[in-house]
């Protein structure tokens, strides 16, 4: 489970870094798509992980 959580963290990091690179290179349309598209499943996933930790 720890490996899975680490893997999920890496996925979040990859998304953020990729989006940042596209912003730096002024490809705002691609960056926006990456952020929005990954936020939709990414947010509930992060929420569920945090809730479990609280329990």
């Amino acid at each position: 489970m720890k490996i899975t959580k680490l893997y999920i963290c890496i996925l979040y990091l990859v998304t953020i870094i990729c989006s940042l690179f596209f912003i730096i290179d002024e490809h705002y349309n691609i960056a926006t798509l990456l952020i929005l598209g990954n936020a939709i499943p990414g947010y509930p996933l992060a929420k569920s992980l945090l809730e479990k930790n609280e329990n």
């Binding site: 999920i8 996925l11 990729c18 690179f21 990414g42 569920s48």
Partner: protein
């Protein structure tokens, strides 16, 4: 426990980040960046072989994927094929970027919408999503319309030896490329080049 459904969806959407490839420099350690595609694909295949040999366990896979090639392998193979064809100057860049992002988002959206609101809403949301993504990346209306219809059409049939993750990338781009090459479709903005050189 992790919600495997959301986890699987998130894994799917993160695949859109493959387009970062276009920001890589043309040469990395004096090797062409094309080798990265081969290296990445070999890593994916190695993981899949290890999974079949039960040396590693991957969570979030569907039950029917236990004894057949998993979806992530199909998706990675499709993306690698598109990137490789782009490097051979066979496909415009905007088609590749649009198709990878479209396939990464549309497939899980259709699955989620169909599950919650039924198949018709699933198809409509899939069409809308793929059209919007293609429109944002490629521009115009002709290619987005063709691409989105084909992407959603090939998502539906469930064939054991051929996954929709692969089909949703190959078929739309194939048709769009044929239409573009034969001059049936309109010209692309900047000849389809969005990213001229890597960082």
């Amino acid at each position: 426990m992790i919600d495997e459904q959301i986890y699987r969806r998130f894994n799917h959407t993160v695949a859109a980040c493959f387009v970062i490839y276009f920001l890589f420099p043309q040469e990395i350690f004096s090797l062409s960046r094309s080798w990265l595609i081969v290296l990445f694909w070999l890593i994916v295949i190695t993981i899949e072989i290890l999974r079949f040999q039960k040396r590693i366990e991957i969570i979030g896979l569907r039950d029917y994927e236990e004894k057949r090639v998993a979806g992530f392998v199909w998706f990675a193979s499709g993306s690698c094929l598109l990137l490789g064809l782009y490097e051979m100057d066979l496909i415009p860049q905007s088609f590749v970027i649009g198709t990878i992002i479209m396939a990464a988002y549309t497939d899980p959206l259709i699955g989620e919408s169909s599950k919650k609101w039924g198949e018709k809403i699933g198809i409509v949301s899939g069409l809308t999503c793929s059209f919007v993504i293609y429109q944002i990346i490629i521009g115009g209306y002709f290619y987005p319309l063709i691409g989105s219809v084909i992407a959603v059409a090939v998502e539906k049939p469930k064939i054991k030896w051929f996954d929709d993750d692969f089909a949703m990338q190959i078929f739309p781009i194939l048709v769009m490329c044929i239409l573009y090459s034969y001059g049936i479709g309109p010209d692309l903005i900047n000849e389809g080049i969005l990213i001229k050189e890597g960082i």
